[in-house]
Subunit: 251 residues, 2 copies
């Protein structure tokens, strides 16, 4: 693992860019540490298919301000795809390959575990879209996460493997998301229920896919069915923060 360190001090937190290998690429994650020197519960943050951007890096910072060690991890080798076709060409085969997803998740987890501030017994995973599917796959691989929270990531896994998930699962989705339609919600719920998982699903009325993400301002093509919903985005974030408070409270 190579660490390229850029230390940025804000009011109380410290952030660091971390390079590490995964999926045949050099990933470029964003690690945020709360003030202090003690061990803290830690959170993996999985980004959307286009990749890790400042929006998810700021989520790591926000969690560090709440007292968590937080790693916004990378899935695309430092790239952020502005072309939806290029994004899909990368994520479609990835999402069909649980082992590749797990490899990306495990590499990110190793970065967290290498951080002395991380309490290895109190790690949660949250993620959005592709990054959410990756943290779910860590659960299905039997990784001892203490909570899994995902938005727009209702992908089912290989048969039977969800039974390895031993922590609460919280999932959010937009009611009008054409990429996660009602049949997919039902399939995800059925998988969790059959596996005996402690699960919840929040359907945000009127929200599209990627509703949690602010509108993308530059001249990027946006796929149909994608759009922001700032009010539900704020609620979904509060729901995630509540999940962490329940399962990995900062003491």
């Amino acid at each position: 693992m190579t660490h390229t360190t850029h230390v940025t001090a804000t009011t109380a937190i410290t952030t660091r860019t971390v390079e590490y290998p995964a999926d045949g690429l050099t990933m470029v994650g964003h690690l945020a540490l709360p003030a202090g020197t003690d061990r803290r519960p830690a959170v993996l943050i999985g980004p959307e298919g286009p990749g890790l951007n400042d929006f998810q890096r700021r989520r790591a910072d926000a969690l560090a301000e709440l007292g968590y060690v937080a790693l916004a991890f990378d899935i695309n080798g430092g790239r952020w795809f502005t072309d939806p076709q290029e994004m899909l060409a990368h994520t479609t085969p990835l999402l069909a390959d649980p082992d590749r997803m797990r490899g990306i998740g495990h590499a990110a987890l190793d970065v967290l575990l290498a951080e002395p501030r991380t309490d290895p017994d109190r790690i949660a995973g949250i993620g959005y879209g592709t990054g959410g599917a990756i943290v779910l796959e860590l659960g299905r691989a039997g990784v001892d996460l203490r909570a899994i929270g995902t938005v727009n990531a209702l992908l089912t896994g290989r048969p039977g493997e969800a039974a390895r998930i031993r922590c609460p699962v919280w999932a959010g989705v937009g009611s009008e998301d054409p990429i996660m339609p009602p049949a997919q919600r039902d399939a995800f719920a059925a998988e969790m229920q059959a596996a005996g998982v402690d699960w919840r699903l929040v359907v945000y009325g009127g929200a599209l896919h990627a509703f949690h993400h602010p509108r993308i301002d530059h001249e990027q093509t946006v796929l149909p069915g994608i759009g922001p919903h700032p009010l539900h985005a704020q609620r979904a974030w509060q729901d995630i923060v509540g999940l962490l408070a329940e399962c990995v409270p900062v003491t």
Copy 2:
């Protein structure tokens, strides 16, 4: 309106039993007031079909401790049905008659509005089962509630009337509730979405009908499909408190 007052002082709140007429009965509600003398946001709390019991009275007390004026209202004229058949004989025709439900809701609202501590511009309604259906009907009647939160109450209304709901609607339901099955969830969601309501639906995995209610200890017959889920019950309460914090914050 007849007020029969029993004042009970706890650490900081004041509670009062309130009798008032509705639905041809004398209702016996439980009003809880926070410490102080100023106006506060106020909350209607609708009970389950069996009626108002101490469990929902304590919800009013808990909300008063958070700073709200809270009325746990009555739907059965002071009775709490221990016989499920007697309960169904009362609630089944009631749930089929929106005007009767609105009458019960309006009478409770009048009690809240008659309380000088109530800020009439900041009233929310929450409810469980039948009581949830009643607060939804107040919304469909065009009452200016600032939030509606219901658990196990996904009853649709008369066509088009949901468009009168102008506040956020939060609804929770158990995934295994046979009384509110997936088709009913879908119908409720479709009604809210078609009406342009700001809505959310939380599905609590593995929970049955009335999952929010503690197990009933005495020798009451319990209908099939009903049972407690303490963990989700606590989450649903936190979700309701969060809805109130969003829509009618105590300032």
